[in-house]
């Protein structure tokens, strides 16, 4: 791929690791003036990290960055800005109570006779807005009075006011309502016409096909392909994004004979977030709980574990109705919860591997069982934690190893019911596979596993049955190996209509 004359940014062989977990392995990318270049990939493919390298937020461990033919090394975002590169982040950085012009020139206000030159600030901002053809926004409007889409425009104007010729946009439609997306499309097209190079990070297929000129696909931090958009079909793109790797092989599912008695049962259970839940999880099986973000998947997990308990219906453990009003009760009944936020509420990060592993035992049990620790090496061996030793603080471990410590702390109390919420979020492929095998292994030993995951391939690959939630209630149940389409049809609430189409 020879760089065209208008190539503004050239990335070659960019590598980046965080705490020993490689996130980018030698990624190449060319960005030309006047093109919209989309970067696609699954969660964790390295899209956002690549963008942050370009923005000077992260320093690459290896590889080169060239801007307009000169090799550069950014010490921070300011350097990138000086080189004409600006990033529009998912979270806005505007001060809501100031005007558009004040925000655009925040920290770089033009000065005249020792005073902020408001007139010039307003005039320059208006010139930029006009250049973009945005006549709905006045430089003197207070940001708080603008819509989300308009604020995005202000962010872009702010970037342009620093003479940015390269714009990186990270999931720019994530915060927008449907009707605002069209406005953004127009804006992006206008920017392109004016010669701005746009790096467009998104995982929404439609947007990318609507907008982009070229697409670069990343997978697990590796460059997969780069091709003009018109030469790609959406099937090609999915194939490139999903590819073939470790993640596609899941441990064997449970056979009918492996299933034991019902361990966890809900009968008409509900609370503020979820309602009318009736299902069972048997010893030896992994039941997947699917649903969109906000459908109540995690609320089920939290209710079963007594964090936000059920207020209606019945929860049975081993056939006995129980009232689980707090986590301590749940733990003592043999229920374990691996939360989705490992760092926020899963681990005490400054404590050692040992103290975290023994935490549940010490915190929830009494007497000799609380003091037992002779099996610590066996517990850590079972989850295969890689650490310098049991006295290392867990904050220094990689995400995957941290997750293994979370699992070890629950194995220490030999739970009967294990609820896992996003058990492989943010961990590398090898650790993912280890977690998958461990979960299946636990099921084989008679643990009832309820698994929540946003990654459909993982959920489908692991589950013996799949329960799908929509809007706080169960939308249906699917057998092992159901298609992603079938799960999504239930999850989006389109049900049969969609499934037929």
């Amino acid at each position: 791929m020879t760089p065209g004359p208008a190539t503004r940014v050239r990335l070659r062989g960019i590598t980046k690791s965080f705490l020993g977990v490689p996130v980018l392995h030698g990624v190449d990318l060319d960005l030309r003036g006047g093109e919209v270049h989309a970067v696609m990939g699954e969660n964790g493919a390295g899209k956002s990290t690549l963008l942050k390298v370009l923005a000077g937020v992260h320093r690459p461990d290896g590889g080169t960055v060239e801007v307009d033919g000169t090799e550069v090394s950014f010490a921070g975002p300011t350097d990138a800005q000086r080189a004409g590169i600006a990033i529009i982040h998912q979270e806005f950085t505007l001060l809501p109570h100031r005007t558009v012009a004040e925000n655009v020139y925040l920290g770089r206000e033009p000065v005249r006779r020792m005073q902020v030159d408001r007139r010039r600030m307003v005039a320059d901002t208006r010139a930029l807005l006009d250049w973009l053809g945005e006549d709905g926004i006045a430089p003197t409007d207070v940001v708080a009075s603008l819509s989300v889409a308009q604020r995005q425009v202000v962010e872009i104007v702010k970037a342009l006011s620093t003479d940015a010729r390269v714009l990186g946009m990270d999931e720019p439609t994530a915060a927008l309502a449907d009707h605002e997306v069209e406005l953004l499309y127009d804006l992006v097209r206008r920017l392109r016409e004016r010669g701005i190079a746009i790096l467009y990070v998104s995982h929404r297929m439609r947007e990318v096909f609507d907008l982009s000129d070229r697409i670069t696909v990343l997978k697990d931090g590796r460059f997969v392909t780069c091709a003009p958009t018109r030469e790609l079909t959406s099937e090609d793109l999915v194939r490139h994004m999903v590819g073939r790797d470790l993640g596609e092989y899941y441990p064997d599912r449970a056979r009918p004979g492996d299933l034991g008695p019902v361990r966890l049962a809900l009968r008409g259970a509900g609370n503020d977030r979820v309602r009318d839940l009736t299902f069972e999880v048997r010893a030896g099986e992994i039941v997947g709980l699917a649903g969109l973000q906000g459908s109540g998947r995690s609320a089920v997990a939290r209710a079963v574990f007594g964090v936000e308990p059920f207020t209606r219906g019945v929860l049975e453990v081993d056939g006995t109705p129980r009232r689980v009003a707090r986590p301590r009760t749940a733990v003592r009944l043999g229920i374990a919860l691996v939360t989705e936020d490992r760092k926020g509420d899963g681990l005490a990060l400054r404590q050692s591997v040992r103290d975290n592993t023994l935490l549940v035992r010490r915190a929830a049990l009494r007497g000799a069982r609380a003091r037992a620790r002779s099996d610590l090496p066996a517990l850590l061996g079972m989850v295969a934690v890689v650490a310098r030793g049991e006295h290392q603080e867990v904050r220094f471990l990689s995400g995957g190893n941290q997750q293994k410590v979370v699992l070890a702390k629950w194995l220490a109390v030999a739970p009967k019911v294990l609820v896992v919420d996003e058990p492989t979020r943010g961990i590398d492929v090898g650790a993912k596979r280890a977690v998958h095998e461990l979960l299946r292994d636990l099921a084989r030993r008679g643990v009832a596993v309820l698994m929540i995951s946003s990654e459909l391939p993982e959920l489908i690959g692991m589950s013996d049955r799949i329960l799908v939630m929509h809007d706080g209630a169960l939308a249906g149940e699917l057998p092992a190996g159901a298609s992603e389409g079938a799960v999504m049809a239930l999850a989006t609430g389109h049900g049969l209509a969609e499934a037929v189409a």
């Binding site: 760092k343 509420d345 990060l349 404590q351 929830a364 650490a387 220094f396 995400g399």
Partner: protein
């Protein structure tokens, strides 16, 4: 990614035992050693063990307060009420005993009970009413100060009995060591008990509460009870310190002045992280001893006692800055050869 913890653990369990210091403990031990050497060089009294025993006796009340303060700080709180509690304990004891030897035992128990009660109130208000401990114990300090003033009209009445004062100034003949002050023996007993407690499950859970309360709660722990326990222990130990100080320094309405900040300085000097989650109780006690040794040394060098609070102020700022900057720096230096970045991995 080469070693597995299972392997590493086995290796460590093998014959090669080596003392393992908690994170941030080493500096205070170095500081303490330097100060003790300084004392030996400067003061003729420190040529023999009795000089150090006297230092330990003087330091005992502060060390006990620091141990109590440690429990609260490591679990994520502050206890500003201990100085006022010491004053209240001494004043109450003097008034109630009023020279009557037979009242000693009862009053000692009463003072201990009072400390326990104050700790209980601090802890309950903090955990149940969700008032930050800084505010709760600051309020408690003012309440106790005011109550003492009201009760004594500014000049404490009564006198302590000889029996009561024995704890603070008396000594006992111990084989091999000779005369050892009671206060030193009490200190050692408390220190050993505290160290053992912190090695146990409840102690480890207490530190974990200071680190990540949510994680402990979601592990089935009783966060409120653990924090309550920390305040109760702090109150109880402040009462013990009051009994020792009453005997050692005598009765006054100023006996506990500023002790809360001195105890916090000691704990911070001991490398315990403000905000909780890291630090060792032995190091906190060593911090208190260092502070006392430093003041003794300054005294020997002829530095005015008026400078004490200034020195203390510098120490507390420097120690916290060291923990924030120095600790990070050390980690970075230690980790650079193995890792490429200290930034958190993206989620």
């Amino acid at each position: 990614m080469t070693r597995e913890a299972g392997v590493a653990a086995r290796r460590e369990g093998a014959a090669c035992w080596r003392p393992r210091l908690a994170e941030g403990t080493a500096p205070v031990l170095v500081v303490l050693l330097l100060l003790l050497v300084g004392l030996a060089v400067t003061g003729p009294a420190y040529d023999e063990p009795s000089g150090y025993l006297a230092l330990l006796k003087r330091a005992a009340p502060l060390m006990i307060l620091a141990i109590g303060q440690y429990f609260v700080i490591v679990s994520g709180g502050f206890d500003l009420s201990v100085g006022a509690l010491v004053t209240a304990g001494v004043v109450i004891a003097a008034r109630l005993i009023d020279g009557d030897e037979s009242a000693t035992t009862g009053v000692v128990l009463l003072v201990l009970g009072f400390g326990l009660l104050v700790g209980l109130v601090n802890g309950l208000v903090t955990t149940k009413l969700l008032v930050p401990s800084f505010i709760v114990t600051l309020g408690m300090m003012l309440v106790l100060d005011g109550a003492v003033f009201l009760w004594t009209d500014g000049a404490p009445r009564g006198a302590l009995s000889a029996g009561f004062r024995t704890f603070g100034r008396g000594s006992v003949d111990v084989p091999l060591l000779g005369e050892v002050p009671w206060s030193v023996l009490i200190l050692l007993a408390i220190l050993v008990a505290a160290a053992l407690f912190m090695r146990g499950g409840t102690g480890r859970a207490l530190v974990a509460v200071g680190d990540n309360e949510a994680a402990v709660r979601l592990s089935g722990g009783q966060v409120d009870r653990l924090r309550l326990l920390a305040f109760v222990l702090s109150g109880l130990l402040a009462a013990v310190a009051a009994i020792l100080l009453g005997g050692f320094a005598g009765v006054s309405a100023q006996v506990g002045n500023g002790l809360e900040f001195r105890a916090i300085t000691a704990v911070v000097l001991g490398g315990v992280l403000l905000g909780g989650g890291r630090g060792s109780v032995v190091a906190a006690a060593a911090g208190a001893l260092s502070l006392e040794a430093l003041f003794t040394l300054l005294n020997l060098l002829g530095v005015s006692g008026a400078l004490e609070s200034a020195v203390q102020g510098v120490i507390i700022i420097a120690a916290v800055a060291y923990a924030a900057l120095g600790g990070g720096l050390r980690q970075r230096l230690r980790w650079r050869p193995k890792r490429n970045s200290t930034q958190p991995a993206p989620s």
